[in-house]
Amino acid sequence: MASAGCTEMAAAGITLHPACRVRQEGFGLLFYDIRGPRLLFAETGSLLAPDHFESMRSKDDLPAGLTEQQTNVLQNFIVKLLERGFLREQ
């Protein structure tokens, strides 16, 4: 018997681009892209940890306990990281 085809699309996720790295600094997150090399300084404080980007996750998957304003700031920030190639979407 033929198996049923998978008709469900996997939800798009984001992760750090393989050419990029991120680490915690006092001001927030420091992103590095070997392809430039380029740097991106993100004044995120302690809102996001570097390991947030280590595994595939939804764009909207943010740490619990954020205010609405913090959530908006981080969502916009993630869009910016995608646009600049530090993150990739799959």
Binding site: P18, A19, R21, R23, Q24, E25, G26, F27, L30, Y32, I34, G36, P37, L39, F41, E43
Partner: protein, 347 residues
């Protein structure tokens, strides 16, 4: 790039140059470290691997390996494997003489490495006048092998008065090979100091090169040419010296310096056989002085925001004044040509 965060101080460099050995099978006339024989008491394999682990713990993103010829070190593959196992990206500057298809296959197993092969002229005679007989063909052989691999590869050429007219041809050569072109600045350290007057580009060549760079955004220069960078290239890289702020240099015996062009006792920030890398990065008085370095003599210049006084290493080597401003900045090139013309008219 926002410099505010750099001014606040980073917990470790984002990348660093590690000259793993002084051993080299070539005697290039512009060599910044006068490489030839291995240095006395170079770091052992165990010490090198311990340093990789420490740099990983400190969050260093990338190590740029140079020398000397790094592949002259028998344990070099072990060292770069240790970097990649910890997620540290590497870039290797090599003369290409030791490359074989087997070595390229071995290096291709990681996606965390880039390679720069030195080639100092599009013409064989130009390159070999600087690097020695046979170097053109061996470098081309390495580039051809690498071009067939997935390893991001570039030609690295040091701009001199002899090859300044061949930069466009080097770009064509890189395109033909399927690699990129990187141009580095010639600085008067090591054998480069001995051959400075013979090899230094003229002010006119530097101005032409600056204009050419502004039309060729795909050409990489690292942080070599921010002193010449035109408005068009702003945003493509650094516009200030990153020594002791974003980067530093580890020498073959474990001594740490602000940059590869300042590897002398005067600028030794510390010794990894005596202190941890973190202690040196955090507490070195030399590093502290570089972080506070301001080139006040350049502050009134119209291009100050574009270069912040240029390369302190060149100012030190040519004027013995680390705060003296880069003698080869774009503004000074223009001024020196104008002065020369005025002298001719006056005569």
């Amino acid at each position: 790039m926002s410099n505010r965060f750099v001014e606040q101080g980073l917990r470790s460099p984002v990348n660093l140059t590690w000259e793993v050995t002084l051993a080299c099978n070539l005697r290039c006339r512009h060599c910044l470290s006068s490489s030839a024989e291995p240095a006395v008491n170079e770091l052992t394999t165990a010490e090198a691997l311990a340093l990789v682990e420490e740099l990983h713990q400190e969050g260093v993103f990338q190590i740029n390996f140079g020398g000397g010829e790094p592949f002259m070190r028998p344990d070099f593959l072990q060292i770069i494997d240790a970097c990649h196992a910890r997620g540290i990206m590497t870039c290797i500057s090599t003369n290409g003489t030791l490359f074989t298809s087997e070595l390229v296959e071995r290096l291709s197993r990681t996606s965390m490495m880039a390679i720069q092969v030195s080639l100092d002229g599009a013409k064989k005679e130009t390159c070999e006048a600087i690097r020695g007989k046979g170097t053109y063909d061996t470098a081309l052989n390495a580039l051809e092998l690498l071009a067939q691999s997935p390893i991001p590869t570039s030609i690295n050429a040091v701009l001199t008065t002899d090859n300044a007219d061949e930069i466009q041809d080097l770009q064509h050569l890189a395109n033909q090979l399927g690699v990129t072109l990187r141009i580095s600045r010639f600085r008067p350290s090591g054998r480069g100091a001995d051959n400075w007057e013979a090899l230094r580009p003229t002010p006119s060549q530097l101005i032409d090169f600056s204009a050419w760079l502004s039309e060729n955004e795909n050409i990489r220069t690292g942080d070599s040419f921010f002193s010449l960078t035109s408005q068009e290239r702003q945003g493509l890289g650094l516009n200030l010296c990153g020594a002791a702020k974003l980067t530093c240099c580890v020498g073959p015996t474990g001594k740490v310096y602000p940059c590869a062009f300042l590897q002398s006792d005067r600028f030794e920030a510390g010794d990894l056989r005596e202190n941890s890398f973190k202690q040196i990065w955090d507490d070195s008085e030399i590093f502290e002085s570089f972080r506070g370095l301001r080139i006040h003599s350049c502050e009134d210049c119209q291009r100050f925001d574009q270069c912040h006084g240029g390369c302190p290493a060149v100012a030190y080597h040519l004027k013995d004044d680390i705060e003296g401003g880069d003698p080869e900045c774009l503004e000074r090139c223009v001024t020196s040509i104008a002065d020369a013309k005025a002298e001719v008219v006056a005569a």
